[in-house]
C-alpha cells in the first residue's frame, strides 16, 4: 500500500507563510 508523506509544504497557506518568514529573516540579516 502506497502512502504519501505529509509535509508542511503541502498546505499552500503554510508554504506562503514559510516563504514570507524566510524572506524576512534574510532581509533582517542582510540589513544588519
Amino acid at each position: 500500500e502506497s502512502f504519501k508523506m505529509v509535509d508542511d509544504d503541502d498546505d499552500p497557506e503554510n508554504r506562503i507563510a514559510k516563504k514570507m518568514l524566510l524572506a524576512q529573516i534574510k532581509a533582517n540579516y542582510s540589513s544588519g
Binding site: 508542511d8 503541502d10 503554510n14 508554504r15 507563510a17 514570507m20 524566510l22 524576512q24 529573516i25 533582517n28
Partner: protein, 94 residues
C-alpha cells in the same frame, strides 16, 4: 499586580508556543529564533496585555489543532509582535 500575573501567564503561553513550533519547524530552526527575537523587541506593556494573551492563545490553539499550518501561525504572531515593537512604539510617541 494584575499586569505581573498577565506577564507570567503570557510568558508561559509563549514558551508553550515556541516548544510546539520547534517540533514542527525542525527543517528551519531560524524561524523560531526569529520569533523569539521579535518577542524580545516587543513593548513590555504589550507583552503584559490581555490583547497579547488572546492573540497568543488563539495562535497556540490553532497551531496545536493544525500542525500543517505551523508557519502560518508563527508568521501571524511575528506580525503582531512587529506591530508592537518597542522601537515602533517609541517612533509613534510624539
Amino acid at each position: 499586580k494584575e499586569g505581573y500575573v498577565l506577564k507570567a501567564e503570557n510568558e508561559k503561553l509563549f514558551g508553550e508556543f515556541v516548544e510546539h513550533c520547534k517540533t514542527h519547524t525542525q527543517d528551519h530552526p531560524e524561524v523560531v529564533a526569529f520569533l523569539q527575537m521579535k518577542y524580545s523587541k516587543a513593548s513590555p506593556d504589550y507583552l503584559s496585555s490581555v490583547e497579547f494573551r488572546n492573540a497568543l492563545g488563539r495562535c497556540l490553539t490553532r497551531a496545536q489543532a493544525n500542525t500543517a499550518k505551523t508557519f502560518v501561525y508563527i508568521n501571524e504572531l511575528c506580525t503582531v509582535l512587529k506591530q508592537h515593537s518597542a522601537k515602533r512604539r517609541a517612533l509613534i510617541q510624539p
